[in-house]
Amino acid sequence: MRQFFPVEDLARDERFVQTNMAERMADTRVPGGGSQTSSKKASSRSSTNRLTPDRHDASDRARGLMHGIMVGEIQALEGAGRTAHDFDAGDGSGDTIPFALKLDMARQAWDEARHVEISAKLSAWMGTEIGEFQENTVLFEAACSNDPVLRLAGVNRALEGLAIDVFTQMKEFGDLAGDPYLEFCEDWMLADEVTHVKMGSDWLRKVTENDPERRSRALEFQQVVDKLFSFGGARGDTAESSFQLARRFRELAGFTDDEVDTIAELDEQALAERKAAVRAMNAASAAN
């Protein structure tokens, strides 16, 4: 088995259809995808883009989101397993990670396996079939860095931070929709994700304690991933965002207020950029 495993080789059965970030943004069935979330049609029916049961498209959106969560959990499982595998135990320098970090990654693999189990059950409960929506593999890409600290920043802090926001939203959706089953499961997954983000925060600080340059590279990478996974501002503090930043849970997971503010700014930037892109696209299609 190779030391590092490329995203193109991720093993899937024939039901799965994989896609990249650009294609995903054009898929109108997923939150933040396509131009629908910012179109007049969508905003005329709802005062915000938040996923609430009274939306006309609530069922499809929730199903698409749950499928997205499930494939995200599969990749999180794969990423944690790879990090447990790819680096030898050592002092954290070079190609090594501390033994205790390897153990944490193995623990995370188990947690993510449960999350796949939970989200597969919830998807079935919601009437979704595996492979009904496309799988965006960019999550695993963030887990492919040759620097384990970048993986902690990109996966544990940025992506699992996003998971905290998404699960908080889904828990709320379950509550509003009167679905205690959904709310119960999201509550449990949220507890695990806070643990994983905290793992990322703690290890990132510890491993880069005497290497400020490596730390700042990791934090820069985290910002890139944070912005990418803002899904064009679908996640953010604004009313137009589908997902709010779950500030309290992020705090529990080791984020400082400043760090959450920075993510909110990145989300706003991403939203503005997406709006501009949609305007340009609409102008181009009107001209044709």
Partner: protein, 233 residues
């Protein structure tokens, strides 16, 4: 009846209750226990790394999830052994975190070689039909032969770990039985198992020759292992 004097009560009791049959003698001194525990930790680490690495390489969704779950089990075993080593006078656990011998290294290399998505059977055979049964054997021998009194902490870990190993072995074996559906599959599984088993036999088990104790009787009844007679041949 009511007039009989109450018998005098005493709190003096034997140190061992009548039902407690634990005894002092054990086969392993502190150094030998530490050596074995170091070999166990090394092998558990190699196993959890392999299971973790394979998750992304297997297309079967149920297998993918079981590998993730089992990856943690073996990481936890490695952690228990890591923590036991300083209690056995090894203050640098890394020093004893070693393979039993060179053949064990070759075994792990051969076991972790399959990567392609169509090789799930080979991956599972290596872990669940060769390595984990060897863990069960090594741990059972250790638990049954160490001092029940002086080495109680190792026994406690062995008991927890053995439960995991047996449960995981059953999971893995059932996954294999569900995947092996043609004669060709049977041949693949058997061929891979034979190849790995041969290297494991060379290694003598997870803790090297004598992993599960002397197995033959020679020289007027004193037991010895094949490997210990090797040098005399």
């Amino acid at each position: 009846m009511g007039d009989a004097p109450a018998p005098e009560r005493t709190t003096a009791r034997a140190p061992f209750a009548p039902w407690d049959r634990r005894d002092l003698p054990g086969m392993f001194d502190v150094a030998e226990t530490a050596r074995r525990v170091g070999n166990y930790k090394w092998a558990e680490m190699k196993l959890f790394e392999a299971l973790g690495g394979w998750i992304a390489t297997v297309p079967e969704l149920d297998v993918k999830m079981r590998l993730g779950t089992h990856c943690y089990h073996h990481a936890w075993h490695a952690e228990l052994w890591h923590k036991r080593l300083p209690e056995l006078r090894e203050m640098k656990p890394e020093r004893l975190t070693q393979p039993a011998n060179e053949a064990m290294v070759r075994f792990m290399d051969a076991m972790t070689e399959p990567e392609a998505p169509e090789l799930t059977i080979e991956k599972l055979v290596g872990a669940y039909r060769v390595l984990i049964p060897r863990f069960i054997a090594a741990y059972t021998y250790h638990r049954n032969n160490t001092s029940e009194i002086t080495d109680a902490p190792t026994i406690r870990s062995l008991t927890f770990i053995l439960q995991d190993e047996i449960d995981d072995w059953r999971d893995g074996e059932m996954m294999l039985q569900s995947l092996i559906s043609t004669e060709h599959d049977v041949e693949r599984a058997a061929a891979h198992q034979a190849r790995l088993e041969a290297i494991m036999v060379e290694a003598g088990g997870i803790a090297g020759p004598g992993t599960i104790g002397p197995t033959t009787v020679m020289n007027g009844g004193s037991p010895t292992t094949d490997s210990t007679t090797e040098g005399d041949a």
